[in-house]
């Protein structure tokens, strides 16, 4: 209801199309995109494999630093264009010793619309993982742009097919997309369209917090359950390891990944609770041959005041040939499900080119529609992403 009153304020423009407003909007978008989500992954690759994200990442819950398989098979063979990839091979330079692996994700981005353009660093994450025979690990991730550090230690219990992970991290919830501007992650951090919230809580602005996570593998299932110290409340809630009960964040997540004939996919559900806020949702995807669909829908209660919000994500990716992927995405966020005029719909079209085993170029065009207001100017994004 609060939003209806905001939208119907006298003098608020119905359609954001004047030059001055476009510039303000553009700056907000740039600032929003500058802040990148770390510990992210590309779930459609896991969907295509019919396997969990930890197939390619050292984190048992997925994301960030890649493991042997992620570097030697996915990055080296399956992602890049064969012709260009064979020109420069980097192999697995991050595996320094049998027990120590380092890595990085570096992204530069240019964004432009009809009025302005800008180029800026988007991500400078450095990782190190010390592993002892796959039984005990110590992980450190330095998010240089955000000046934040994530670190945790994990222990595996093969007889129980389980692990415990303890440290300073963000809890595992839903799909860990690399695009933090998706509304199911952080969305528009600068609230570009003037709503109270324009996305969920998994933004780069939300710092890693003290967390203990238990994970269990059962056949093709992965269950995780974690307790964190005030993930939504932020760093103010750090009196002790887990803080006061009212600030504790409980998250559970279940994921099933499998292949059947020509089809492979992932299906799962997540639930987060902290104080009076509850977020629950389902996620998954299916892949056949060169087509992959990825999707998630989340329902949040108490995230935007005392109303119910919905965020969803849907992506269709077509691998034209190895190394060339075309994507169409639809992002949706409704801040208050009982009010008609406060929903964001973002339509994106793009291409991802994997030139080498360590370099990706991304081009994207997107438009956002705000119900009751109108369509925003078309944005064009160009991104280079290097990793090892």
């Amino acid at each position: 209801m609060m939003l209806v009153s905001q939208i119907s304020k006298p003098g608020l423009p119905k359609v954001l199309r004047t030059t001055k407003e476009s510039r303000v909007l553009f700056r907000k978008i740039v600032i929003s995109i500058l802040l990148v989500q770390s510990a992210s992954a590309i779930p459609r690759f896991a969907i295509k494999e019919g396997a969990s994200c930890n197939t390619c990442h050292v984190n048992p819950a997925g994301g960030a630093l890649r493991n042997d398989y992620g570097m030697l098979i996915t990055s080296a063979d399956e992602l890049p264009m064969p012709k260009t990839a064979s020109l420069i091979t980097l192999d697995d330079v991050g595996q320094l010793t049998d027990h120590l692996r380092i890595g990085a994700d570096l992204r530069m981005q240019a964004i432009t619309d009809s009025e302005e353009s800008s180029v800026f660093p988007m991500q400078r994450d450095l990782y190190a993982y010390f592993d002892l025979k796959g039984m005990v690990g110590l992980y450190v991730e330095s998010e240089a742009l955000m000046k934040k550090t994530e670190y945790w230690t994990n222990a595996f219990f093969p007889f129980l097919n389980s692990y415990i992970r303890v440290g300073r991290m963000r809890p595992t919830y839903g799909l860990m997309l690399d695009d933090h501007t998706s509304f199911i992650r952080g969305g528009n951090l600068q609230r570009t369209h003037g709503l109270l919230k324009e996305g969920l809580s998994f933004s780069p602005m939300t710092p890693p917090v003290n967390t203990a996570e238990l994970g269990m593998f059962r056949s093709d299932f992965l269950f995780t359950a974690s307790l964190s110290n005030g993930f939504l409340a932020g760093e103010a809630a750090e009196a002790s390891f887990l803080g006061p009960p009212s600030n504790r964040t409980a998250v559970i997540r279940a994921e099933y990944s499998s292949s059947l004939g020509d089809y492979s996919g992932i299906a799962g559900a997540s639930y987060l609770s902290e104080g009076s806020t509850e977020i629950k949702g389902v996620f998954g995807g299916i892949s056949r041959d060169r087509l992959t669909w990825t999707g998630e829908v989340d329902f949040a209660g108490g995230w935007t005041g005392d109303v119910n919000s919905v965020a969803s994500y849907s992506e269709i990716a077509w691998m034209v040939e190895p190394g060339i992927h075309l994507l169409a995405k639809y992002d949706f966020f409704d801040e208050d499900t009982e009010v008609l005029e406060n929903a964001l719909s973002r339509f994106s079209l793009g291409a991802e080119l994997y030139i080498f085993s360590f370099l990706e170029l991304k081009v994207q065009m997107r438009k956002t529609h705000v119900s009751g207001i109108g369509m925003s100017p078309t944005e064009f994004l160009f991104q280079t992403h290097a990793w090892f």
Partner: protein, 120 residues
């Protein structure tokens, strides 16, 4: 100081090379992890219709803790023996995992055996 830095760099490089070497290979002739993983991904996994974790601890690939890994080793020895002792002298094309498995963990034992996955 410069010498020390060069020595440390050389040590790091030698460690990196060592870390790329394949470990605990008893049957396969490969030298590096990359060669081994490529072979597994392109031959063994599709022939049996499985993913890596069916035979390996995905966090420690060289480990022998998964009993399926030893079964696979014995199957490789069997295949090598068939090729070397029977097919080579006849100048026949060699057999591979795919020849029997055809994407199934357990190949049918007879023409009436329709089951794809009976345990032993």
């Amino acid at each position: 100081m410069k010498r020390l830095l060069i020595m440390m760099l050389l040590m790091a490089v030698s460690q990196t090379v060592e870390a790329q070497e394949a470990k605990n290979l008893k049957i396969l002739p490969f030298k590096t992890k990359k060669e081994t993983m490529d072979f597994m991904k392109k031959n063994i996994a599709p022939s049996l219709g499985v993913k890596c974790a069916y035979c390996h601890n995905a966090r420690d690939f060289p480990s022998d803790e998964n009993k399926h890994k030893e079964v696979t080793r014995q199957m490789m020895i069997m295949t090598q023996n068939i090729n070397k002792n029977t097919l080579d002298p006849l100048a026949y094309e060699p057999v591979t995992c795919w020849t029997c498995h055809r994407g199934n963990i357990y190949p049918p034992r007879s023409k009436d055996d329709k089951k794809k996955g009976h345990e032993h």
